[in-house]
């Protein structure tokens, strides 16, 4: 019998000392329901692919069929001659001097220029009055390719005479990389790893491989561009960061940013895959060329080529420990395959290197991480961002060390666990709670799920419920060959953008009285991608302004940047910005109140005043005035930027520097049943414990932890984009062969939540979205190793690996 998560152990939102208690309903700490929840589960929510405009055209992208080739010629004449076709554009039609885009390095051509560097690269775009016409027209474009040698891995990238994926690089990393086919390199040297190794009684080494995972968001890339009368364009699109898109779109259109007006439309998931530009520029180009609205919607096949993936990685690790179980040193080398374009590779390198040690105390380290340019699919941001790959490797190492020392794997980890005050390999101290040992204790303390749950006694003897067995309804075993395994893992993730990035957010908050009731409007450019920011912003406004009614304004570029919905940062940073703007609004309300009513009560001048339930009250609870009487017809409207503590770049030679804002920790215990003969796996339970600092919305916290856990499980047992090493082509761009966990693959996910406040963060909160994705994968791998005794240095695990076939 498959069981589903039972009542979860989420503590009610107990206010910490830096939280202002609020009697206003629906404030922070309550599990208020998402405004978009019902619409989404009933199928009524309008996603970006649902948009329609009178007289609109459909855009279609023609993509390269080869991974690396010179474009000898492009012939669009036949496509252009088709009735219903309004435009066919190639590189030569780009209107501005700027023809590339990119998150950090502008190395990605809007349309291929003389060369394609990966399978599925956009070469031409078509606008037609029907999607089928656009598709047929694109198929009539003739491209003559002359294939070039392929760069597919580190050996081919750095071989003598290797073809350069990008010639004439002039980005700011080229000066410190050992080869032009390396995007970025970050070493971290602290202490003396070679010297410390001499103190080690045991040393373990391992080489690990992490497969290419896809974000596989369910709403494919889509949007609608509408040309406007002033020569500009309105773009409605599903993205993760409106202003980052804007900064890349406007220059290639040759327009000032104020002529490209962007509005967020319904986002069907993101997970990092919408940080990069996909159809945005193409739709705008076609709209501006034709003077008509243009809609582009990728299908699932195209979506696999339309966004970057998680970096596949090769990781080489060496750890040592004394016979008492204390870690002595760590050396590692992490090679990330960035594919054909840089995307977020440099930042992923920074994360992979600085988090490569995991949540452990190791004073002597020698670390190197690089990202390659290859002709494989471009890779960039995905939930966990470099820390995922490292966690998979260092947690395997912890189990190997524990086994070699004949120690319990959890106790071994606890013995070496970092805590508040620990110096990370970058030299940065961890200055907020780091309950690593406690999280491990919590998952270990849970009772194990019952054995052989597939056997049930019935009136006709014992019966077998195949749904509880590996293979499920495919009916491959009734218990034969099935062995249980248990495994543990814990991980460390940074929160927010690191390495000196100016990671600010903007919030505009308006307060006014409507029909005698004070109401608030919160306007940010935050991309709601499913994380629940819209829920949390309303909770913050209720808490800070004491209003019941909060309107969340649609996200657009009429307000300042909210930064990216990624890096577990939005509740921290845009939540912080909303809080900050609310406080400024409140101060003005109180100022008006003092002016109008100050002479009536001394508390106006002496007490700390709050807004609660539509009234101005003292911290002692005495009501001084109705907000409606204070404001009358006046509206307070304030837009402010807000920043978390600044960070520093990592030194390019030593990796030293206070590079991160905050850390997030989660631990998992995985329980699996493995059919050892067929190599099939059923994950029975994935217990998680995570410190969230402060659960602003406990139900959303639970959803994030369970979702992250499942995404981590996916890449442990099934999710992988398979690239043919001989052709660098993607072999499985469909949901038939890129497998995502179904509900029958989903284990019970019991969750323990700790709320240890980080005093530097708004309300003491901690970014939570990514940490559970880290430790889930290695916990499942550890459990499978425990069941099979196999070494399993690669994820995802396939039946072939478990059966030696």
């Amino acid at each position: 019998m498959t069981t589903y998560p039972k009542a979860q152990n989420v503590p009610a939102g107990t206010p910490t000392k830096i939280t202002q208690g609020s009697p206003t309903k629906g404030g922070i700490g309550e599990s208020t329901l998402r405004p978009d929840g019902t619409l989404k589960v009933t199928g009524e929510f309008a996603y970006s692919s649902d948009m329609w405009h009178e007289d609109m055209l459909w855009g279609q992208t023609l993509r390269s069929t080869v991974a690396h080739a010179e474009i000898v010629s492009i012939d669009t004449s036949e496509a252009l001659a088709m009735p219903g076709v309004y435009a066919v554009l190639t590189y030569d039609d780009l209107p501005a001097a700027m023809k590339n885009y990119g998150l950090e390095i502008q190395d990605t051509p809007v349309l291929a220029h003389g060369k394609v560097r990966h399978h599925g690269e956009p070469v031409a775009i078509v606008a037609a009055d029907h999607p089928e016409t656009a598709r047929r027209a694109a198929a009539k474009i003739k491209i003559d390719y002359r294939e070039l040698p392929l760069i597919t891995d580190e050996a081919s990238a750095t071989a003598p005479g290797a073809v350069l994926v990008h010639e004439g690089r002039d980005d700011h990393h080229i000066g410190h990389v050992p080869h032009p086919n390396i995007v970025h390199r970050q070493p971290i040297i602290r202490g003396d790893a070679d010297e410390a190794a001499k103190r080690a009684d045991v040393i373990v080494r391992g080489e690990y491989t992490f497969g290419m995972q896809d974000q596989a968001f369910l709403g494919p890339e889509s949007g609608l561009a509408v040309p406007s009368e002033d020569g500009g364009v309105e773009l409605y699109v599903a993205t993760q960061w409106l202003h980052s898109d804007l900064g890349q779109i406007a220059p290639v259109l040759g327009l000032p940013e104020d002529k490209v007006r962007m509005t967020l439309s319904g986002v069907g998931g993101a997970f990092g895959g919408r940080e990069d530009i996909s159809m945005q520029i193409h739709a705008c180009l076609l709209a501006l060329r034709t003077g008509k609205p243009v809609k582009i919607v990728y299908n699932r096949f195209e979506s696999f080529f339309g966004h970057v993936h998680r970096h596949p990685a090769k990781l080489t690790y060496e750890h040592g420990a004394t016979k008492d179980g204390k870690l002595t040193h760590m050396k590692c080398r992490i090679v990330l395959d960035g594919g054909a374009y840089a995307s977020a590779s440099p930042a992923v390198v920074g994360n992979a290197s600085s988090l490569s040690v995991g949540p452990y105390v190791i004073e002597d380290v020698d670390i190197e991480a690089v990202a390659l340019y290859t002709n494989n699919p471009p890779c960039g941001a995905m939930r966990g961002f470099g820390a995922v790959q490292a966690c998979f490797a260092y947690e395997a190492q912890m189990d190997k060390l524990a086994a070699k020392l004949d120690m319990d794997p959890v106790e071994f980890r606890q013995l070496n666990a970092m805590e508040q005050g620990t110096l990370l390999p970058t030299g940065q101290p961890c200055d907020s709670p780091a309950p690593v040992a406690e999280l491990l204790r919590l998952v270990k303390a849970r009772p194990l799920p019952p054995e052989q749950e597939w056997l049930t006694a019935g009136s006709e003897g014992t019966s077998v419920d195949v749904r509880a067995l590996p293979g499920g309804l495919s009916n491959t075993t009734h218990g034969e060959g099935v062995v249980r395994g248990v495994g543990y893992a814990v991980g460390l993730k940074n929160v927010g953008f690191s390495e000196g990035f100016d990671d600010y957010s903007t919030a505009r908050v308006r307060m006014e009285v409507i029909n005698g009731e004070p109401v608030a409007t919160v306007h940010t450019a935050m991309a709601e991608v499913g994380q629940g920011g819209v829920t949390v912003h309303a909770q913050i406004a209720r808490t800070e302004l004491g209003v019941n009614q909060v309107t969340i304004h649609p996200a657009d570029t009429k307000v300042g940047s909210a930064g990216s919905t990624s890096a577990s940062r939005q509740t921290y940073v845009t939540g912080g910005a909303v809080k900050n703007s609310c406080e400024a609004v409140r101060e003005q309300v109180l100022e008006i109140g003092r002016r109008k009513f100050g002479s009536y009560h001394p508390a106006w001048a002496t007490a700390e005043l709050l807004l609660e339930g539509g009234k101005v009250v003292t911290d002692g609870g005495e009501v001084l005035a109705d907000v409606a009487d204070v404001l009358e017809d006046e509206a307070i409207d304030i837009e402010l930027e807000w920043r978390h503590r600044p960070t520093e770049a990592f030194d390019l030679r030593t990796g030293q520097g206070n590079g991160h804002v905050q850390y997030s920790f989660a631990a998992h215990r995985a329980v699996v049943e493995v059919d050892t003969e067929l190599g099939l796996v059923k994950v029975i339970e994935l217990a998680c414990a995570q410190d969230v600092g402060k659960a602003l919305n406990p139900l959303s916290v639970l959803g994030q932890i369970q979702g992250g856990t499942l995404q981590g499980m996916g890449v442990a047992v099934m999710e992988e984009i398979i690239v043919d090493p001989k052709t660098a082509k993607v072999r499985n761009p469909s949901f038939t062969d890129y497998l995502l966990p179904t509900i029958l693959d989903t284990p019970t996910i019991p969750v323990d939540v700790l709320e240890l406040a980080d005093e530097n963060a708004p309300y003491g909160l901690r970014g939570i979205g990514e940490a559970p994705t880290l430790s889930s994968t290695p916990a499942v791998l550890a459990a499978i190793r425990n069941a099979t005794g196999l070494e399993l240095n690669r994820t995802p695990v396939r039946p072939e690996h478990l059966t030696g076939t």
């Binding site: 077998v464 067929l678 190599g679 039946p799």
Partner: protein, 296 residues
Amino acid sequence: MDFLRPASWEEALAAKAEHPTAVPIAGGTDVMVEINFDHRRPEYLLDLNRIGELSEWEVGQESVRLGASVPYSAIMEHLRAELPGLALASHTVASPQIRNRGGVGGNLGTASPAGDAHPALLAAGAEVEAESVRGTRLIPIDAFYTGVKRNALEPDELIRAVHIRKADGPQQYSKVGTRNAMVIAVCAFGLALHPETRTVRTGIGSAAPTPVRAKEAEAFLNAALDEGGFWESGKIITPAIAKQFAALASGACNPIDDVRGTAKYRRHAVGIMARRTLGWTWEQYRGAGRTLEGAA
């Protein structure tokens, strides 16, 4: 693309005769995937959904005449006693929504080696009722699959029904996929005991260019069970016999390496499934088998 919508079977046959390249579509669970992926754009689609009789079945003395469009969910619900192997295979087809739409006719029409119904049909024994304006014929299932995604139908023929022998003994079906539900077969195995004829039949999916029977394995097992008097005594099959049966089943495979699995794994897994399904069916024959739950 023209969309032909015949109101009756006769009209459908006439349309197919007039447009032999027309692709019949019923549940659309195969055809639409092909179209959506742009793998093919047929000139004509021949919609069979208005022909209600294709979704009906008749249980006869010897066999079940299963309309080509009877959905998998109906087989699971109504024909578990008569067609236990096919009912188990139906459970492994995609998702509940797809099982409500897809039917065996589509599996046969596409004739993909990965079609879930084929091993069960091969093991049970079946005949495909093919019809054209020229007349009706019954094609034995063993002669139906002629190549990768090719079958014995003539261009003007449509599948009206499939006649499947009613089970006279236990049947089992196993399928390996790398997910616990809603997954295309890496390989599959069907096995049926036929106590009336004291024979065993098998079917292998996704491990050869076409669905195939493991004929040598069947012959070996038939002889071994006969010689050992197993059918009469109902005694436990010896591990040596089961092992040899599994090895011969593996040997009947002619698989490829592809994105879903290696050839070596497929051979290995078919052997394991052969051994297990033989064990389960034989236990049931002996009257000692466990019942299966969760298959509904």
